[in-house]
Symmetry: C2
């Protein structure tokens, strides 16, 4: 269970298991800031105690030394998954070798990739007529791979652009087909999503592309537009496996693993099988879904260790009760931060329209913007790191993916309130 | 120091530190085969004792349990590198996070990728006017990326095809330029390399492409042809960093990491800077060397953990004394196996011409080919795994990359002699 924290820094002190330290001369300060920097961080205990059955932590690894990492990706991973990976890194389950050393065509690795796929299918309830591919190159490679495989050079396709990533996807598609931006949130600094009924879709568009969650701007689709023609294609890099999704509504879903489900270097594609097999002639063999699907993602050597890590995360998500349970936790975490922002009397501000605020990435600014650097610096001292906003939007951003424990969000919210009390 | 083994299985027994076990009832057999399966493998000790300063092995990791892994790639990694990676997987050097969780733009990961590049530059003495890129997609992605970046669609280029990989590279290039096979070893089952003076190079070829070491066929260039026009391009996936190379002779060198320098999922490209910036219009942004070079391999999220692992391997290679020392070890290992083959009176056979035999991949067959399955099975029982030859050539293949300890080769050679004695 997570350590129960209330929203007041003072009550936090009272519940701190290390509060006897307050008796020491150098920890007599009463501010939350001083307290937290002079005591062991209490909150990481919650992550450590939420683990399923795993090997014991090696003696030289003190979980108290971990930070709360709010990075937008690569991002924090579940502590129990890391501990399991660590325990079996040198010798995977009696095989006599590391996962990193296994032939990708050997029985050991085949069991790993097949279980990873099966568990992902279970998590997202992926229909039989969809292929699951484990690829390389990130979402950015998909920006090219999608039009190369789904379009001829003159085919029209539609893009709804709700942030920087949708914009990049549109620009890359210009090399391979005739994409059109049918709506863009740019003039409103990417803080909204158009009502779907007012989208002017091209009648012959081969697909309608959306970015389901814009990592930089914190804008998330809560449901999905229906393509007038063709299929719906979604970049789910930053909210993949954060909640249940009806895969059958999509022709293609893609996601870089490094936000919610693993380390960087793995890209997951879920594609309806009848869309496979129409690549343009100029498609590099590695970017042809047909080659990858026919070879079960093993046409060449895949990123084996990354796929293994994704598999461990899928196991963990299933052990948590699946994506319905995961979504509940993510909603609770996001509500805590947005509430702290909205009840700050304008001290903190989130520019995103409430109905489309992301559960994964919470961008916010300070009314007194000259305090932002101090906010980030003080938070880092208290072992809450990577809170700086993307350079294109400034301010702060708290990325709170699946693996961010509730205790991390509670600690951040307590810090926000304390910071406000000291600077309002 | 490696445990000294002689070539006789009997003398091997005498030197085995666990020979007291022979007194046990169940280990009284005198054959090498029974001995090795009923005792802990002795040879991995050599790898473990050759490590530089590393963290202690966690209590649940007994190095005696490791196998000798002769896989062609992903392949065995240095034991000390794996131990170091294991020790710091959960919390990298006091950062409070795993390398897998680090923002690729944060100071921690930047220090990792910059050191990896610096160490690789030092190892290969890479000139300043060459860029080093850490990419994704394996050598197969380079098969497309090279012509897309170095050619216009009508440009002629030359390929010397000494095995399956060179052939694949040629076929992929057909999509993007006008490649010509100026020599192929196919009719002689890829066992030779043409004398360079008889290569009929195209006068206007933009580049001359070779595969420096054919992983499947065990054919390795010992020196390099000089392009009549244009530059020399080499796929060094399976002998990268196995010996010193004069980088200045090449326009471009590329290598998947998963043989000699790391896990799968990282592709290293060393390219002369003045070749960058001429990509065809249809080049996906991720396949444009200019984008990758301008962004120091960080245009999008790179395969961070894989790059970190490569960095640990580079450190280890430098600690061994650099590639001159590494080559000495590799020569010694390869000589042991080829000698065992050549002195077997035809019991074992290597089809490759002696002057171009690979130091990395040793393919061999049995005169009595019906014994090959038994050979592979018995070897696996003695913890020497992945000795089966590629499905396209059959027989056996011992891949003995940098990280294969001498003791592993000695054990294999002793086993080969014992097997021959029992089956000749």
């Amino acid at each position: 269970m997570a350590t129960k924290l209330t929203s007041s820094p003072n009550s936090l002190l009272l519940q701190n298991p290390y509060r006897h330290n307050l008796l020491k001369p150098n920890s007599s300060a009463t501010s939350f800031s001083n307290f937290a920097t002079q005591n062991k961080p209490i909150s990481i205990r919650c992550a450590a105690t939420s683990t399923a059955a795993v090997s014991p932590i090696p003696a030289n690894q003190d979980p108290e030394d971990r930070v709360f990492n709010f990075a937008a990706g690569p991002a924090t991973l579940p502590a129990n998954v890391l501990q399991k990976a660590q325990a079996e890194l040198y010798n995977w389950r009696g095989s006599g070798m590391s996962v990193m050393e296994m032939s990708h065509r050997g029985k050991e690795f085949l069991s790993i990739i097949q279980k990873a796929e099966a568990d992902l299918r279970s998590l997202l309830n992926i229909p039989e007529d969809y292929a699951v591919l484990f690829l390389q190159g990130g979402g950015t490679t998909q920006f090219a791979m999608i039009p190369l495989n789904l379009c001829k050079p003159d085919d029209p396709v539609d893009y709804v652009v709700t942030g920087s990533w949708g914009d990049k996807a549109f620009k890359e598609a210009q090399k391979f087909c005739k994409p059109k931006v049918i709506w863009s949130g740019k003039s409103e600094k990417y803080t909204k999503i158009s009502p779907y009924e007012s989208l002017e879709q091209s009648p012959d568009a081969k697909y309608l592309h959306i970015c389901a969650n814009e990592t930089i701007h914190g804008v998330e689709f809560k449901d999905y537009p229906t393509p007038k023609n063709g299929i719906l294609v979604a970049d789910m890099s930053s909210n993949f496996c954060s909640k249940p999704v009806d895969v059958s509504k999509f022709g293609l879903i893609y996601a870089g693993a490094q936000k919610n489900v693993g380390p960087s270097g793995v890209t997951i594609v879920i594609i309806k099988k009848d869309l496979i097999g129409n690549a343009q002639e100029i498609t590099p063999v590695m970017l042809d879904y047909k080659i990858q699907a026919e070879n079960n993602s093993l046409y060449n050597t895949p990123p084996c260790f990354g796929i293994y890590m994704c598999g461990l995360v899928f196991e963990d998500l299933l052990a948590q009760g699946g994506l319905t349970e995961v979504e509940k936790k993510n909603k609770k975490k996001a509500e805590l931060i947005y509430k702290a922002i909205d009840e700050s009397n304008g001290f903190y501000r989130c520019p995103v329209e409430k109905s489309v605020r992301s559960l994964m990435n919470v961008p916010f600014t300070l009314e007194k913007s000259d305090l932002e650097a101090e906010f980030i610096k003080e938070a880092a001292k208290e072992k809450m790191v990577q809170l700086k906003g993307h350079r294109s939007v400034g301010g702060m951003r708290a990325s709170i993916y699946n693996a961010m424990p509730l205790a991390g969000v509670e600690k951040l919210v307590a810090f926000m309130k304390d910071f406000q009390a000291r600077h309002a």
